[in-house]
């Protein structure tokens, strides 16, 4: 069952990202990205991370995608983007990507094939919360300052200049 779910979710994720590369319409891209994020949330749940899966679906597939869609509606570009004409850029980019892919495959070969985490309450939200408020208390508080700074900064940037 877990194997079937893994293959189903990974095929959905990879297919929507590939479709995003070929699609030229930003609203379609945003929808495909929401699908990819939701199925990634399912993959997180398969890896015994229910809290991360929930946060992924709420923040990525919810909040960030709403932000993207609002900006797409505000920008309102009528014409779709023509494809890139410089062929050598394609070739160079594809070559670089293939090199990175095989480099990282070499790294992954040295990883262990069996996982250590077997007990059922690994990744339980309560244990994650305890870790957040003890060992990672300072990063947690600094993150809240970062969120406030980002909020004020984006409000300041996106305001209309008054004459």
């Amino acid at each position: 069952m877990a194997t079937f779910l893994f293959y189903l979710l990974s095929i959905i994720t990879v297919a929507s990202v590939v479709a995003m590369i070929f699609s030229r319409h930003q609203a379609h891209n945003a929808l495909l990205l929401a699908v990819a994020f939701t199925s990634l949330g399912g993959l997180f749940a398969l890896l015994q991370a229910p809290f991360i899966a929930t946060v992924q679906i709420i923040i990525y597939a919810g909040a960030i995608m709403v932000l993207f869609i609002f900006v797409i509606m505000m920008i309102d570009l009528r014409q779709p983007f023509p494809p890139l004409r410089k062929k050598w850029v394609f070739a160079l980019g594809a070559l670089l990507i293939v090199v990175i892919f095989f480099e990282l495959i070499m790294v992954i070969k040295s990883f262990p094939t069996a996982s250590k985490a077997t007990n059922l309450d690994f990744g339980h939200p309560a244990s994650l919360g305890k870790l957040l408020f003890s060992k990672y208390l300072y990063p947690f508080e600094i993150t809240s300052i970062l969120i406030v700074a980002a909020m004020v900064g984006s409000l300041y940037l996106a305001r209309r200049k008054e004459r």
Binding site: I21, A30, F51, I52, Q56, I97, S127, A150, L157
Partner: protein, 99 residues
């Protein structure tokens, strides 16, 4: 399910995101490609948490998601500003610093 399969999936997603970033020309889709790469890194971190039975990398994923939310807000505000100034969002036409 072997964790290596999850690592290979995250690697595939990362390279696809990098490909989308290099091949696309509008800023919004390039920004989406960055989000895909961040998510691929998150998947690798969660797979690592299960492989080495350590909850710390799940906490790191939590921080990555919060920082990505902040980054998306500021980045989209900057894209909006570029659109107001130039009336389009092609990344190749943003060459103010070109000598």
């Amino acid at each position: 399910m072997s964790p290596v399969a999850f690592f290979i999936l995250s690697l595939l997603l990362f390279t696809l995101g990098a490909l989308a970033f290099l091949f696309k020309r509008d800023l919004i889709t390039q920004f989406m490609a960055i989000e895909i790469m961040l998510n691929a890194a998150n998947l690798a971190l969660v797979a690592g948490a299960k492989t080495w039975a350590s909850l710390d990398s799940q906490v790191v994923v939590f921080f990555v998601i919060t920082v990505a939310a902040a980054e998306a807000a500021v980045g989209l505000a900057i894209i909006l500003l570029i659109y107001r100034q130039k009336k389009n969002i092609r990344s190749e036409e943003i060459n103010l610093l070109k000598g």
